[in-house]
Subunit: 139 residues, 4 copies
């Protein structure tokens, strides 16, 4: 399939629709049904010891699938998460950005499914895995 | 089983261990393997239209099971989330606190499992459901 | 909401649509957005030691949500499972029927969500919990 | 890490421990933290129209992670599934074997996490994805 939005267009759309997350995420790479997204870790993402919080990991996985879907269907603000499963497997490295490697496994008419591996930047073993389902509204 | 910590003791422990979430949560009621927790919704939890964000719902479900476990085993900071499944079922009411009704289904030697229903305060139909597994470290 | 099918009508429909599972399940009780279903445990459901297999527990949870949806929307064969999350919490009692207590948390136009607790017949502590999402086809 | 059991040793162990599933599965390939397993589809796995049933897909995903864990830790019968998340994404091809591509994401002291993509033999797009957690008993 053809990618309908570039990384720049996706970031612009995200910033416009969700000003609350401005500056939290950066798109590293977009491809056919794939995206790599960085969580720019700041103080508000941390727990004691400098570890990145669970909600921040969820947020990164969630936005990654959202952006992967948008990249394929174009700028439609209304896709919503309907379900998510997460496994937290390792403690993130302290005060280190997280990288989400996301792949769309299904992009249907009404449902999209994406899977995500989350890494501490520079590490080989994943911190977490996630799978998310998005509901795509009728046009 | 006997509840080992009161709502006040739980909040004090949470504030001490996780100063980052100070003022976000309030415990409404603690019982045997049950807890009710309120997310005190503020600007930072919101998305456009005043709806409460997914990461905030995750955070509420996660802290609820954590507190339910602590209430039963006593103040041990090291229990960690190992997995989570979430279903987002309805749009939360705008700018309204969320209430988590949490029940522990298992409290084993190494794993605890809790389930959570999340409501917009005053609403009957749940916004989300979650189930979480915590790993309990050996003493 | 009104229940549109009785236990007898549901069993008849199930037997007609899925002859492969004839004799595996019995409906104990149907109510508004609730159902209780029994797995009639036979040799083929067992693992060594007489414990009921994981796939049998999945099958019971899955059919319970399916029947709970049908009870509310009427006999439509085409609802399909889109996702499932399961926690296996305790070993089932040997050679004992399983009972699923199922509740629909959402019955939308396109998606239904049900949660299930599975018990060994006569036991208090649940063997497993499950949540399932069904996709309901347009009429 | 070193693989401790060959495909033949794994099948022999499985047949000895779980005679109930004799002839259902075949191991196609074993590697470091990876395994490919075939469900030899027979009449009992089917639903009307020849589609493979949900419980059969669950069973394949479950046994694949079990075998992937055993391959790495050696023949220990006692690892048990503690949780599972499944997304059913496409209808399986009629009367066609299923292939599970499984990867271990974590092999810890007490918990292992595996992810699985399930394909109808010869198809490119996955029928389902699964992630499973196994609890590994202390030696």
């Amino acid at each position: 399939m053809t990618v309908k939005m570039t990384a720049e267009e996706l970031m612009e759309f995200l910033d416009g629709e969700f000003p609350q997350v401005n500056g939290e995420f950066a798109i590293e790479e977009v491809g056919d049904s794939r995206i790599r997204v960085r969580l720019l870790v700041a103080e508000r993402h941390l727990r004691p010891g400098g570890t990145v919080s669970g909600p921040s990991i969820f947020a990164l996985a969630d936005v990654s699938v959202y952006l992967a879907v948008l990249a394929m269907i174009g700028p439609q603000g209304l896709a919503v998460t309907t379900s998510c499963s997460l496994d937290f497997m390792r403690k993130p490295a302290a005060r280190t950005d997280l990288i989400a490697e996301c792949r769309l496994l299904k992009l249907g008419r009404v449902l999209a499914v994406g899977e995500v591996l989350v890494f501490s930047d520079g590490m080989q073993a994943p911190v977490a895995r996630a799978s998310l389902t998005y509901s795509i509204p009728p046009k």
